[in-house]
């Protein structure tokens, strides 16, 4: 991937990630996160992970973030003062976070680059066929377990978010 593409995309993703943390309105945070996910999908495509790029948009940006937006809209959340709510603690948090970020980045810089591959990436790397073959051969048990996990999650979220009979009978004039 050429540096002319990487650096702008990386800078934009960091800026949007900062907007997730710093924005006062929850909707703007959510939009920032959608932007980060879209940029990440572009980066996945450049890293020869085509199926994952499409899945990132379909699952993450198209379903999970829509769910977030629904909840924010339904709860009618207002903007709070963001990191201005508790300035001293926020400053300590940012300071510690900067130390952690610096430490992680330094640790990553020490990673030894794998020796340049003699051959190019294997045929069909990152395509649906190859990933699907992995799912059905090597990770088959995990694949089936995740489908059960999704079923459990669906049932659980419906049960959790359901209004009880008592709340329903409170009616419009209730508290």
């Amino acid at each position: 991937m050429s540096p002319f593409l990487f650096y702008p995309l990386a800078t934009m993703s960091v800026i949007f990630a900062l907007s997730v943390v710093l924005a006062k309105s929850p909707v703007r945070s959510a939009l920032g996160l959608v932007a980060v996910m879209a940029i990440l999908a572009v980066q996945f495509a450049f890293l020869q992970a085509h199926l994952l790029a499409a899945l990132q948009i379909i699952v993450y940006a198209g379903a999970i973030m829509v769910l977030f937006l629904f909840v924010i809209t339904l709860l009618n959340l207002e903007s709070d003062r963001g990191i201005g709510e508790k300035p001293k603690l926020s400053a300590i948090g940012f300071g510690a976070g900067a130390v952690v970020a610096g430490g992680l980045a330094l640790a990553m810089l020490g990673v030894v680059e794998p020796a340049a591959r003699a051959v190019a990436l294997p045929e069909g790397f990152g395509t649906t066929a190859v990933l699907a073959r992995q799912m059905f051969n090597r990770y088959f048990v995990a694949f089936e377990l995740t489908s059960i996990l999704l079923l459990v999650a669906v049932v659980g979220s419906v049960v959790l978010a359901k209004r009880t009979a008592a709340e329903n009978s409170e009616g419009v004039t209730g508290a």
Binding site: R28, L51, A54, I57, G62, V66, L69, T73, T128
Partner: protein, 373 residues
């Protein structure tokens, strides 16, 4: 210009520009076709009042809708309601328009063309996950609707947008499951490969199109597509005769024009998708790329020059897309709209089980008889 620059950047850029330009223009023309088509169905004359400074001796409705309407809309003053989030209010129409327009980039509109010795596919971007790209952009379309209502600071717009986005994600599910059965059937995610597999003849007479193999999936994808673009009979979020404009009530000027364009661009997208999957895309019946015209009963094919065949194929694609756009307009002015609970029941209790049953039967069929590839 170096070869790499020409073939890797200039030509794909040109193809994408042409496709997006055509989609936007088609959306504008569809507005006029809708007005005239609805007039024909309702036994009236339709939009025919326009003349340039009184010069033309007759009234030309086409000029009105194509030139005067967009000019008027884009030069109107744009209000942002009091207390609304300005940034989100401004970005919502763009979020609605962008996915609808960009989807057609993955749809093939022709076979190949030889330019300076290299074959160039007549498809703006050759994606090996083409169908998933279309599905992903359909999912992204929900954001425009959800944000438009919220950013209007108007509780009725908010209601309209929540209903609209709930409707869109329900029908997106049914469309996705039906798309999976088409993926299984063709054995590939690449749209150009799917179109190429629909060459040849079915039972010796009919063209080998996807509709003859998967009629149920066609009905589901077409209906779910109409529901996605919130056209009648699924247009409760924005019904023009009951609510004022639903989720885009507080929009005026260019932003409202963007929402209208997004509506028609999505119907173009649905038409393009249905054409590619079920009606052979750019395949002209009885014409093969290398050989030419061979009607059933002809002993040997009538050889046609390659350029003529390519032009026929591109023309056939456009005719098919226009036909499905026209069909959606026809359905709009014929069928009354659904009530919201009927709509959601149809989506969840009707279409998803049918799509799942179709998927299981398709998988069985492939196990017994093998797929198209």
């Amino acid at each position: 210009m170096s070869d790499a620059l020409l073939f890797d950047w200039v030509i794909p850029g040109l193809k994408s520009f042409i496709v997006i330009f055509m989609v936007l223009n088609l959306a504008a023309v569809l507005l006029w076709i809708e007005r005239k088509g609805s007039a024909l169905i309702q036994n009236r004359v339709g939009a025919n009042r326009a003349s340039i400074l009184g010069i033309l001796p007759f009234n030309v409705g086409f000029l009105n809708t194509l030139v005067a309407d967009p000019l008027k809309l884009f030069t109107k003053e744009e209000f942002v309601p009091d207390g609304a989030d300005k940034f989100v209010h401004s970005i919502a129409p763009f979020l609605a328009l962008f996915p609808a327009v960009v989807t057609m980039v993955a749809v093939p509109f022709g076979d190949t063309v030889e330019i300076m010795g290299r074959t160039v596919e007549l498809q703006a971007v050759r994606l090996d996950v083409g169908v998933l790209y279309v599905s992903a952009l359909v999912s992204m379309g929900v954001f425009g609707v959800a944000l438009a209502g919220w950013a209007s600071n108007n509780r009725w717009a908010l209601l309209g947008s929540i209903r609209g986005s709930a409707q869109m994600i329900s029908y997106e599910l049914a469309m996705g499951v039906a798309l999976v059965s088409m993926i299984l059937f063709f054995g590939t995610l690449d749209l150009q490969a799917m179109v190429r597999q629909q060459a040849g003849l079915f039972l010796g007479v009919l063209p080998n199109w996807g509709i003859f193999y998967q009629p149920v999936a066609f009905i589901i994808i077409f209906t779910a597509g109409i529901a996605e673009s919130k056209r009648v009979p699924f247009d409760l979020p924005e019904c023009e005769s009951e609510l004022i404009a639903g989720y885009f009530t507080e929009y005026s000027g260019g932003k409202q024009a963007s929402f209208m364009l997004a509506d028609f661009a999505e119907s173009v997208m649905v038409a393009g998708l249905v054409t590619t999957l079920f009606f052979g895309g750019w395949q002209v019946p009885y014409v093969t790329s290398g050989q030419g015209l061979q009607l059933p009963g002809m002993a040997s094919p009538l050889v046609l020059p390659a350029l003529a065949v390519t032009l026929m194929q591109v023309g056939t694609f456009m005719i098919k897309v226009l036909f499905f756009c026209w069909l959606q307009i026809l359905i709009r002015w014929t069928v009354p709209r659904f009530r919201y609970d009927q709509l959601m029941n149809l989506g969840w209790k009707g279409m998803v089980p049918i799509a799942l049953a179709n998927l299981i039967l398709t998988a069985l069929g492939i196990l017994l008889w093998g797929d198209m590839a």
